[in-house]
């Protein structure tokens, strides 16, 4: 089979926060960049973030996620980045070619360098009835409601009281759903206080130390059975939607297929491609960035994207060594700022275990 073959300097897989930032950095230094994304719209998961980000102004604090996405897309277009949507990268061969399933058919791209910025996917937990329609990832529910304007149900139960569980609860309330509760297996709430306060103010009950036992329903979810791990009492929640906010894993199959070494770091969501602090994945011309390189948050993904774009531009000879070093130092400082607090420090330590001597 002879597929059309295209040559390019830098190919970025994924048009989310990491991929767009990688593209901007490289393109601004003169590298021709193609961004490939299977969605119909660029921006990745930023489009479903209707809350205001906090942190530093540099990371768009005070702006809502979709506004940050619009800004990044505009920056890319100004820098001459070729963003191709509806284009799934279905293979990354050890010889260095990408196989793309695009609107016009399947073709090959042979880039000098590739940034893998493919993001993460949601984890779930299994229990009797876990495959019933009406049970979905909390991020999936967030996409449904904030991007497509459709509720996942009228009565929603949330599993997981981390930031995703709390934010999605609040956003479902904003959109008019009834959130009947948030169950959390551990005995504390790991999400930020600010998100917790908002759902508490709306009167959503939170059940720490509670575990899902089973889900019931004939053609779809009707009720969820939950057990109090302390008293042993079971509680029945009538709900037509159960949203699972139980963590995410890096989605880095392309790196594995290319031959990158995969390592396991629990704090970063599981298996991820090994990389150094320049976001090089150990093979010539292969870079990783964002959640695909370890699940953190959008602000971190943007900085890692910039780091990978700078490194790629330098190695392709489009950015001078000194300039690249200075820019990387600035990105490193911002990454260190973002990885503070108990969870941030754990992620920082996990990242460091990859490349610190």
């Amino acid at each position: 089979m002879n597929l059309p073959l295209e040559h390019t300097a830098l190919a970025v897989v994924g048009a989310g926060p990491a991929g767009l930032c990688a593209a901007v950095e490289a393109a601004r230094s003169g590298v021709p960049v193609v961004v490939l994304d299977e969605n119909e719209r660029a921006g990745g998961q930023l489009f479903k973030q209707v809350h205001r980000f906090f942190g530093s102004r540099r990371h768009g604090a005070g702006k809502r996620g979709y506004e940050i996405a619009d800004d990044l897309i505009a920056e890319c277009l100004r820098a001459g980045v070729d963003i191709r949507l509806g284009s799934s990268v279905i293979a990354f061969f050890p010889e260095g070619e990408l196989m793309v399933d695009g609107p016009g058919g399947v073709y090959l791209v042979r880039p000098q360098a590739v940034v893998i910025a493919t993001g993460a996917s949601e984890k779930t937990i299994a229990f009797p009835g876990w495959t019933l329609p009406g049970i979905m990832g909390a991020g999936a529910a967030q996409t449904l409601v904030n991007v497509h304007g459709v509720l996942p149900g009228k009565r929603v139960l949330i599993a997981g009281a981390g930031n995703v569980g709390l934010i999605v609860s609040y956003q479902l309330l904003q959109a008019g759903a009834d959130v009947v509760g948030i169950v959390e297996a551990s005995h504390g709430v790991s999400g930020y206080e600010v998100h917790l306060d908002r759902v508490r103010r709306e009167g959503v009950p939170i059940y720490p130390g509670h575990r899902i036992i089973s889900a019931r329903g004939r053609d779809g979810l009707e009720a969820v059975v939950v057990k109090d791990l302390r008293g042993g009492r079971t509680v029945l929640f009538e709900a037509d939607s159960l949203c699972m906010a139980v963590g995410m894993s890096p989605m880095a199959e392309l790196a594995a297929m290319r031959g990158c070494r995969m390592v396991f770091r629990e704090e970063l969501g599981g298996f991820l491609p090994w990389h150094d602090e320049k976001m090089r994945a150990g093979l010539q011309g292969v870079y990783v960035a964002g959640d695909a390189a370890g699940v953190e948050e959008a602000s971190v993904a943007m900085e890692e994207g910039r780091m990978s774009g700078i490194s790629a531009a330098e190695e392709m000879g489009s950015m001078k060594k000194r300039q690249a070093a200075a820019r990387r130092a600035a990105v490193s400082r911002r990454l260190a700022d973002l990885r503070r607090g108990p969870y941030g420090e754990a992620r920082m330590a996990a990242k460091c275990s990859l490349y610190c001597a």
Partner: protein, 102 residues
């Protein structure tokens, strides 16, 4: 059942594109141009997108990002189309694989 949000506290009106008609297992359904098939079905309270081949259990969209394939349906005769990633088109035929009595 109607699960459309209508007016959103942050985003304002979520009316979206113009209405088109799709045929789900032969039944006409209004959808908004450009939205994914799975979202159009959910808006009408249709949560089951396929039945598992062996046990015939109902399955529905889980990830909404094209990974889990629980939402794969037959679209205009083509099997295994991820309906969370595929936009509706006027006149589109969408069939539920493994539907009892099919």
């Amino acid at each position: 059942m109607d699960l459309r949000v209508g007016r959103h506290a942050v985003l304002g009106e979520m009316e979206g594109g113009k209405l088109v008609t799709i045929y789900v297992d032969g039944v006409p359904l209004k959808a908004r141009e450009g939205e994914p098939i799975a979202a159009a079905l959910y808006a009408h309270g249709i949560r089951t997108t396929r039945y598992s081949p062996r046990l015939g259990e109902p399955r529905g969209p889980f990830c909404m990002i094209g990974r889990c394939t629980e939402c794969a349906m037959t679209v205009d005769g083509e099997p295994n189309v991820r309906t969370c990633m595929t936009a509706v088109r006027d006149g589109m035929r969408v069939d539920t694989p493994g539907r009892p009595g099919e």
